[in-house]
Symmetry: C2
Subunit: 764 residues, 2 copies
């Protein structure tokens, strides 16, 4: 044991040296995906940072005349590349989501007459927003710079994990303002602000909090602001509706005299005199626990005022993270796609603990994380597929902490369930399934058990999967499927539960719990109960066992599926494609089905229904912009035509990812789309997280070196690869032929070399 | 030193034995003051308890059709004796205030069809409220019992310091309900509830919180409920206005399935089956810190289910507190008045720390009280006069903790000011002056310095008194008075500041700070700057130094005074009545002025203006129902006619206090009215807190024994006292004649005997 450790250390020492010194940040373009549907943000953040400090180009209200405002969807991440104006810089953003929240603590520097409303894009000068142009904009990992044309202010942003750092270069003026707009937010709507508070402690230190009832119902985020220079004066505005005691005895004139203000809708501003080019720096520390916690986070992470140092420290974190996979490619575009995908893959989930380990739990009490970092922002329906499996290769310790965070969630959740979509100590129940179990099963399969008891983790999975009154699980357990009457997405639920149950069974088997293995292996077969042999599709099934009469397998509207149609979802048996193939009538029909999925022409009326993606997000009827089909291209590996997997994967990589603002074919979904890209570019993909098998596809690079936390390196060499040579001719692992178009995690974790020999013709 | 201590212990041991074993609780009638203007509550509380568990007979909205609803004023304490129905039992109440708040966590037991609205007094059966009658009502110190006629339920209430304990005896039924109405509150108005939360942890344990924007702007109170018997089922109702994600994905059906609910307006109910007479017990623990804190408070204070024991423990606390003053009187009514006054004097301020010492501070952060109990509910404009001076005799350690709480308030307050009227970690700025300084000065004068640095305390007083932008202090410092233009209550402010400044000067002198002594002794003379020799009254003065033209010394409307007219306020120079007498033209005119104050007939139109009091609250033009004149009856002691003080005091005692529900002539004001009664009944009164002198009045009893915390006893013997014999003929202290109608604190604290020789004729 000792010897092993020592060896590992030696190796790791050796490998650190082995890492190339090439800077990878130049290949990262956070701007990718900021146009149209990507829903990424261009601002600054550290890997998995609590702070995502980024410009808002608009803050559209969720409601317009009391109705849902479809435009709000564009602003899930606060920024749209085509916009001409910037409203300000806020400190929290989701990366690539379809629903949204956050946008906390908008800060905007201005000069001249004080304006307190953002104004509109149509009438920019009606408010404090400023015009900007992309020519004056720099967007890097952990660094963002832009010129605010209306004010001749250069704004620069960087961060540490919990602190946002603004550096504003002002012109000479006696009327510089820094506005703190607590009314602004992403996916805002009337009364989303529950309560807000600002406390001016002195002329350089401000604290406060924002409590919202949004996608997270019971959310409070605390802040502490520090200015590098004392303000000369400050002011408050309270736009809240009447409060009985607001002006009690006329003593509470909150706009002056008093150093604190609270209310539902409040703003503050701070005034400065500046010389030409004078830099005013602003640190904004966040805490999920308290204002004291925010001050503590600031003191711990950024005690001083050296902007360049903070930027360099954060970028060094990125370099270290990016270097875990070093690729070689003749294509700059390839490197830009790849390292930007790496960047987008390492933003969510986000740290949700103060530096002292305290965090708010699902029970709305304050807890202390004992020996781990607590995370939030779990978009699990998306990320269980490829993102967490990727972490199990390049960030296993972090992923184990994410598992511990999910177990803490389970312990603290009033429903005693693992997270579905958790955000800031709240559960929003978004999407279907209970895929936290797949993330846990995958970690157990790969033996990343740092600091948690796998038996307890298994119990959490089982209790969650037996939660009878959640989303038709009771019927699912009794009948083997979720009846159409019980849920609008009964088929998706049945299929996803079946896969999740299989992953539980795998973990149970590994942990020697034969009872659980049997129970959930049986449940894992339930996918078959919603397969309709007559139509050849998975199809909504009624209580009485019959299939729903009117049924359109091309439609995604009320057909029993979520973010997908029957054509795509019918292939959702990732844990047993072979059995699915038989169910669907054998190999030849299965291949025909896959072929037509990619080649058919989807009529426009059906495209119109398809959520979250652009026209480019579809290939035939294959929807890459949504997740349910992310494994589909790899299913040819279960047939005798694996070369079709290789061709399809390369086609998807080419068609769906570009190193441009509009380069993402759909929402990045907290890194899942990027993780798919990373795996597929490397040449393999985890079709069924929960086991150790990856399916071989077609690498789009000339080679890669994976630096593992255990000190091992796994080398991928790709010979004769080109846009034409997408077909695998031969595969060797450590010099020996690798059969079966499969790779196992064990073969990676022990290090070694995988060599792809590529050619222009399918190897039949 | 050692010897001294030992002696003290011996004495104290001796004195404990010396205390009579007579039960005093039978003389306590919490119901006194619950009719009309007393604003006391009849429910259960421990001395200074965090919980005041009491019935609401109505919860009137602060607003009616968008306008102030004058009826809300009657319900400052939630209960009006004349009402016929009880809405439920809530856990927090102010005692005797004029503005109000609280009424948190209303619980109502019912049987039969579930009703979730309280209904109205006019249509009782339209809601869950129940009829009751005083014949089925018992109201004792820390015990309340009533029969809910509509449901045939016997409700009993008792408390510990932080936990309310309900005991409900149900009839036989399969439809018993316990309703938790989080929408209910005192001085409620739309949007006063900012956010509320209920978490059903299991079938006997519930936690949650209520966040309000009321008289306290930023207030959150947390709770934990424990049932003695598991409920069979529960339900939620969310009456909040639309929330975008309330029913997200249809999974958040908060009325069932889910064990938690949050929103602005929510209710919960818990269902039980009961046998005839079955008792269901409910413990409700409070915390200003967290739900965990509430659970911890419950476990520490009431781990079990023995209602009788909890009641007995709380009543023993009351017996110990009441026994600090043992009186002898031939009159039962006298004893009822006196011990009910003692009871009302020992309710506010209230404990505001969890059992672990944690509390929320004015800065909205959580703090830990280091070696003291933190208190809130400081109605200082009222209570600096007699209540805190009373504590300095019978509760000096507690009073020192109150001083420490005020210093913590100062440290944490964004305004860096001592409390004006503080409530639940918030400042509401109610009334005039900065009388915390008088409370601190009085504690320093009496050398009750337990655990705080008097120099730091003095600094807090000085900083507060120099807060230029608070309520005209800047002008007051510059001009020597608050100009009429600057404040609607400029004269009250000037007079009260001058007195407060004098008290600061006394503390400074005692602490050897000659600089501060000089500065504030000079400020203490400012009262003279608002005296108008022409009219002979204190009078609003303009910026230019002239007095306001149109001026009505009888009116309390916009005359520059608060809760008083010029006639009364002109006498507000408690720190130097002799100088005031000269200012007003010498003794004979001063005596005439005092005589006419008590004897003149105040025209009804002026009475109509007088706040907070009943017709009986006025004697001539002397207003006892409000505080500014509480010292006035004692001012004859500065003339050669002290017997008039003796006669007036006895007349006020007789006229203003009765052992009946309508027995209080005005709001009890957190115990100030009661403290006046206690001092005056004992025969002396602190006209100027901040020095050690009490003015002799006329004792209304035959004797009293004061048990001091230092182990000493001070005995008062009154010979030949009766309703006729109200005049002091002779006074001896420890056998020697006591001259000058004055008694000092030092003469009390060292123990001894004061003998009054009374007679039917003034001693001229």
């Amino acid at each position: 044991m000792k010897l092993k450790l020592t060896l590992a250390f030696l190796l790791s020492g050796h490998l650190l040296m082995a890492q190339t010194s090439e800077k990878l940040i130049p290949y990262v373009h956070p701007i990718i995906g900021t146009q149209r549907m990507g829903h990424t943000f261009p601002g600054a953040t550290a890997p998995f940072g609590m702070v995502q400090l980024s410009p808002e180009t608009d803050t559209i209200s969720y409601e317009l005349n009391g109705k849902y405002n479809p435009d709000v969807y564009k602003y899930c991440a606060g920024y749209q590349y085509d916009d001409q104006t910037i409203v300000g810089f806020s400190h929290t953003h989701f990366s690539g989501t379809g629903h949204s929240d956050l946008g906390d603590f908008l800060i905007m520097p201005t000069v001249g007459p004080l304006k307190l409303n953002p104004g509109t894009a149509q009438q920019a000068h009606s408010g404090y927003r400023s015009a900007f142009s992309h020519t004056n904009e720099i967007s890097e990992a952990n660094y963002y710079k832009v010129k605010l044309d209306d004010y001749n202010i250069i704004a620069e942003l960087t961060t540490s994990t919990r602190v946002g750092f603004h550096q504003y270069s002002f012109p000479k003026t006696d009327s510089a303002h820094i506005i703190l707009d607590m009314e602004s937010g992403i996916y805002n709507y009337p009364d989303k602000n529950v309560w807000t508070y600002i406390h001016v402690i002195n002329d350089t230190l401000i604290t406060g909090y924002r409590q919202t009832n949004g996608w997270a119902r019971n959310r409070t985020l605390y802040f502490a602001i520090s200015f590098s220079k004392p303000f000369t004066s400050h002011g408050f505005r309270n736009d809240s509706k009447k409060e009985v005691y607001r002006g009690f005895w006329g003593k509470l004139n909150q706009s002056k005299d008093f150093p604190e203000i609270s209310g539902q809708q409040i703003k503050a501003w701070f005034n400065f005199n500046t010389s030409e080019g004078e830099k005013i720096k602003v640190k904004m520390a966040l805490s999920p626990v308290s204002m004291d916690g925010a001050i503590q986070n600031m003191q711990a992470e950024i005690p001083g005022w050296n902007f360049e140092q903070v930027k360099a420290d954060g970028q060094q974190q990125w370099e270290t993270a990016l270097h875990k996979i070093e690729i070689s490619s003749k294509s700059e575009a390839e490197k830009e796609n790849f390292y930007t995908a790496m960047y987008h893959a390492l933003i969510n989930p986000t740290v949700y603990t103060d530096v002292d380990g305290r965090y708010k739990g699902l029970d709305q009490n304050i807890h202390k994380a004992d020996g781990f970092t607590n995370y939030t922002t779990f978009s699990l329906w998306d990320t269980y597929r490829a993102l967490h499996p990727l972490f199990n290769i390049i960030e296993p310790k972090r992923n184990a902490d994410m598992v511990r965070s999910m177990l803490a969630h389970y312990e603290q959740s009033p429903e005693h369930m693992l997270p579905v979509w958790s955000n800031s100590a709240n559960e929003n129940w978004c999407m279907s399934g209970y895929h936290a179990v797949a993330v846990i099963a995958d970690a157990i399969a790969k033996e990343h058990l740092n600091g948690y008891d796998p038996q307890k983790a298994l119990e959490a999975c089982v209790v969650t999967a037996r939660h009878r009154n959640y989303e038709g699980i009771g019927d699912y357990m009794d009948k083997g499927y979720v009846p159409d009457e019980k849920s609008g997405v009964s088929v998706s639920n049945t299929l996803e539960y079946a896969y999740d149950d299989w992953s539980i069974a795998q973990a149970a088997q590994k942990l020697g719990r034969d009872d659980i293995y049997k129970e959930f292996s049986k449940r894992a077969l339930n996918y078959a109960n919603v397969y309709d042999p007559a139509s050849g599709f998975m199809r909504p099934r009624l209580n009485d066992g019959s299939f729903r009469k009117n049924f359109d397998p091309l439609s995604t509207n009320n057909q029993g599926f979520i973010e997908g149609n029957a054509w795509n979802y019918t292939l959702f048996v990732p844990h047993d494609p072979a059995a699915l193939m038989n169910l669907m009538g054998g190999e030849s029909r299965f291949v025909r089905y896959l072929d037509s999925l990619f080649t058919m022409e989807l009529p426009d009326k059906y495209f119109a229904e398809t959520e979250d993606i652009t026209r480019d997000g579809i290939i035939g009827n294959y929807v890459h912009g949504n997740e349910p089909s992310h494994h589909v291209a790899y299913l040819y590996n279960w047939t005798h035509q694996p070369w079709k997997t290789q061709a399809r994967v390369r086609m998807i990589l080419k068609k769906m990812y570009h190193p441009t603002p509009d380069g993402l074919g759909g929402n990045d979904d907290c890194g899942q789309m990027s993780a798919w890209y990373i795996f597929s570019t490397l040449g393999f993909y985890p079709v069924a997280p929960g086991n150790n098998i990856y399916q071989i596809g077609s690498p789009a690079i000339d080679g890669a070196t994976l630096h593992l936390e255990n000190g091992q390196t796994f080398k991928i060499t790709v010979k004769n690869q080109s846009d034409k040579n997408v077909y695998v001719q031969r595969l060797t692992l450590n010099g020996k032929d690798l059969p079966g178009y499969q790779l196992s995690y064990d073969q990676i974790k022990n290090g070694g070399e995988l060599v792809f020999y590529m050619g222009g013709k399918p190897k039949k």
